[in-house]
Symmetry: C3
Subunit: 365 residues, 3 copies
């Protein structure tokens, strides 16, 4: 049988994949546990998660001369119901990026955590895992004023979009010089599919960002890290700043210190400036102290933090967690956390304790 | 170039995946065929399926001392239109589970077929495949009263959720002792995202399960199996019982008998009790007889069954199928089925014949 | 521990996958770039793509005697926002097909590009990639009258369905005889999930295709190719014809000529007949000339084309592109295109220039 045009075209496609196959890595995380949170929307014994659940595909192609092509695609999902994360987030909520890496650093295009967000997870005692015991989502990044439209990282994004990513982004990470690294991230002014006008400092009749608005200024996110080279004590710090499509700004600094291999101490401070879209209560500050302590096959996690919205009731949180490692890939965990949150009145004048318990399994593949 | 904090973090992620890679198995099923069903909503010659279409990812990690970590994620889809199963089901409709296996048995968390449902597929002549010729979905599990909201396994679930799974579930399978095995399954009382109130025994103004309701009692599903050890004749039976979040109950028993290797005879009986949500016609019973007969490269499937809703017109079904194996992974099939169903009047007082023809290909990968 | 019924069943499933694993190929494309298009809905500097972004799974099973089983599943997505293609297309928008291949040719069932569409991509200077600089989607297939419901290949399909695929399709590709190959493709008359009536030549009160309509005639798509065997000059041509579920028809012819290995010259002509659903302006003709020229590690792409809707303003397009290959799998690209399009008035009486610039990276894995 002679080869047809179509057959040749198909073979081309097949052979492309054949040599490419070796470079695709499938990875992921399944994390599910039993949780209970008092004084919350759901106080019943529930099935939940401590970490994001992921199914990812990535690869690195060596282009020669130190140059590499990189890609990464990461599905996020809810293990207890099988739906995509949050039920309505983008399929590749984790990230979808492609780019090049070389002596000049790494350049990538697509959608992912902002530079500030990605860096900050290294300075948080729950490793940035977005759960009630951890400090990443509510405290450490200066408390997204979640109830206020426009206060997340991608305010002109699709429904369900998370508050800490840029769509239409460009990422540049420098190489490391004497322990220093710079991570730069900008995004286009595109409207990424939001369908509800953002009132902001306008009125419902004349919203600040009507449907179809583009950003008035380019969103950016920058972080700089320094990591002390060599032996113990090991330490590192970062500073970061970010501006989203509605010109809400974050500023944060953090550090960790490792006096002995088993102990990592962390501290961070952050501030969110909502002045561009909020006429009142437009500043939120927050700080956090944390520690990780490894003992035998286990690791303890500790944290204490506060969020202080300008002119409103503070949020205070104390948490302790324990990971029991069954292998480098699999652990069981226990989290206990108490959070003093504003009562759901507006303006909140008092607070209430939210106790959180979680027991689960975390498996990487 | 020295390693940066971020680079180390990324490397950590990469290396995790690198050693994990060997354990991820990609599997699936593509099944498509030409079908025709008389007296149905779609009587035209159509493209359909005999089996669920699947794309799955799973792995087993050996933790030492006989302990293993397990995960499984299974996408379901429609081959003829490329959409996810049913067009609106969860992405991982097949299952999303993670857990541990050891001498104590298997424990898993997540969402999957209930214990009763998973067991019952082994006693059905179409291997539990949910098509018009098979007996699993309409007859064998005592005829979910599909038109009645609240009558499936996950009545407080997301739109499109199937009627035979638990979300927020915990599964425990014992080891096998002298041929006996017990499969236990419970679920939390969580509302899994249903957005339409269930009237049930209430009224539209005061529904029995308003939006946001939690289950009043923990849903559970239990099955026990016995399989005769050793040589022919080989036989097995099971009993199972289940209660969903709206306290609808199923009870079923089944057996198979294999006098010679080529022949498997099956029988099962089931009952559904809808009394908690239905004031009238609250009991459905059903039974089924089936056989699989292997001859050369092919296998014949036979079945006859009845569903008897309390005080309403019976459903009677007779089916014959043939699989022609092209390999252990691929076969062609032909199904012929006649089903006497109630006319779509309420209450139905007479019935009509629904003839079903299907010719297709079933490919596992 | 003796093996349980369930354990045996699970093992069966596992072992199926174990030997199947070797046959699953994961492949894909990530393409992202910076674009700008004047006089368009979005004139801001944006992040976009030149090619479809894909994550696919496919396999071939050798059944012996020259017979093979084939499957292919292809996810499509937007790299800049992480959502599935277009935000609402089927999960496996690329294709979902299963079938057999042997001496008789290839037979497949499922959903994919129509025969005409798949063939035509080989005769287009941007390789059929659906972007503003290329000619495939707007010019070459005779300009789908996109604004007119019913004018795409699957008019009775789900929301977001693309205009060049058949759902519920059967594909047959003959082997190649003396350079000739025939590609046949039909689809069932099924309504594939469209939810908005098509007015067509009816009225809003009495639409030509009410919700739930089946096709009045079987949709089909046919292409025939001839490829000159042997050495240079190499040439090939095709003819194709297609009829969709609303009896809109396409007819097209194309050819390419390769006088030297580095140069491929292309020409094609097409016609769309919308008479079945449009009372006026029911014919569109189009033609295109193109070239690919390889020079060193790069390839230039050139094209000029016109679309001539009956009684309306023409569209004229001139484009030039450049691929700089970093490897056989990865290239950087630059596209420059000018398109004279009708002003958005109805009927359009004048035109406007749309300039398009794109700079990006294309990575296959």
């Amino acid at each position: 049988m002679k080869k047809s045009i179509l057959a040749l075209a198909l073979m081309g496609a097949f052979s492309t994949a054949a040599f490419a196959q070796s470079s695709v890595v499938i990875y992921g995380t399944l994390d599910a546990g039993i949780t209970k949170t008092t004084n919350s929307a759901n106080t019943a014994l529930s099935e939940g998660k401590r970490d994001n659940n992921k199914l990812g595909f990535r690869g690195v192609e060596d282009l020669g001369s130190g140059l590499k092509a990189l890609f990464q695609l990461e599905i996020r999902f809810e293990p207890d119901t099988g739906v995509i994360e949050g039920g309505n987030r983008p399929l590749f909520q984790g990230q979808s990026r492609v780019g090049l890496q070389g002596d000049f650093g790494t350049v990538r295009l697509g959608r992912a955590l902002t530079a500030l967000q990605e860096t900050s997870t290294l300075f948080e005692p729950w490793s940035g895992m977005p759960n009630q015991a951890g400090f990443q989502t509510d405290i450490m990044v200066a408390g997204y004023r979640a109830a206020l439209p426009g206060s997340g990282s991608d305010p002109l994004g699709v429904a369900g979009n998370s508050g800490n990513r840029f769509a239409n982004g460009l990422w540049y990470n420098t190489p490391v010089y004497n322990g220093f690294q710079l991570n730069l991230n900008i995004a286009s002014k595109e409207n990424n599919g939001f369908t509800t006008a953002l009132v902001g400092r306008g009125t419902p009749a004349a919203p600040q960002y009507p449907v179809g608005s583009l950003a008035g200024a380019y969103p950016y996110s920058v972080s700089a890290t320094y990591s002390a080279p060599g032996t113990l004590p090991q330490y590192s710090f970062y500073v970061g700043t970010e501006r989203n499509a509605t010109e809400v700004k974050w500023h944060s600094v953090g550090a960790y210190y490792r006096p002995i291999p088993a102990l990592k101490l962390m501290a961070s401070y952050g501030k969110q400036d909502l002045g561009h879209i909020a006429a009142t209560n437009d500043t939120i500050t927050a700080w956090m102290l944390g520690a990780n302590y490894t003992y035998g096959p286990g690791m303890f996690r500790f944290g204490y933090g506060q969020k202080n919205p300008d002119g409103q009731v503070k949020t205070k949180q104390i948490s302790v967690g324990y990971d029991y490692n069954l292998s480098p890939r699999t652990y069981l965990y226990l989290d206990l956390s108490q959070k003093k949150i504003p009562l759901a009145t507006s303006p909140a004048t008092s607070d209430v304790n939210q106790n959180h318990y979680a027991l689960g399994i975390h498996h990487n593949f």
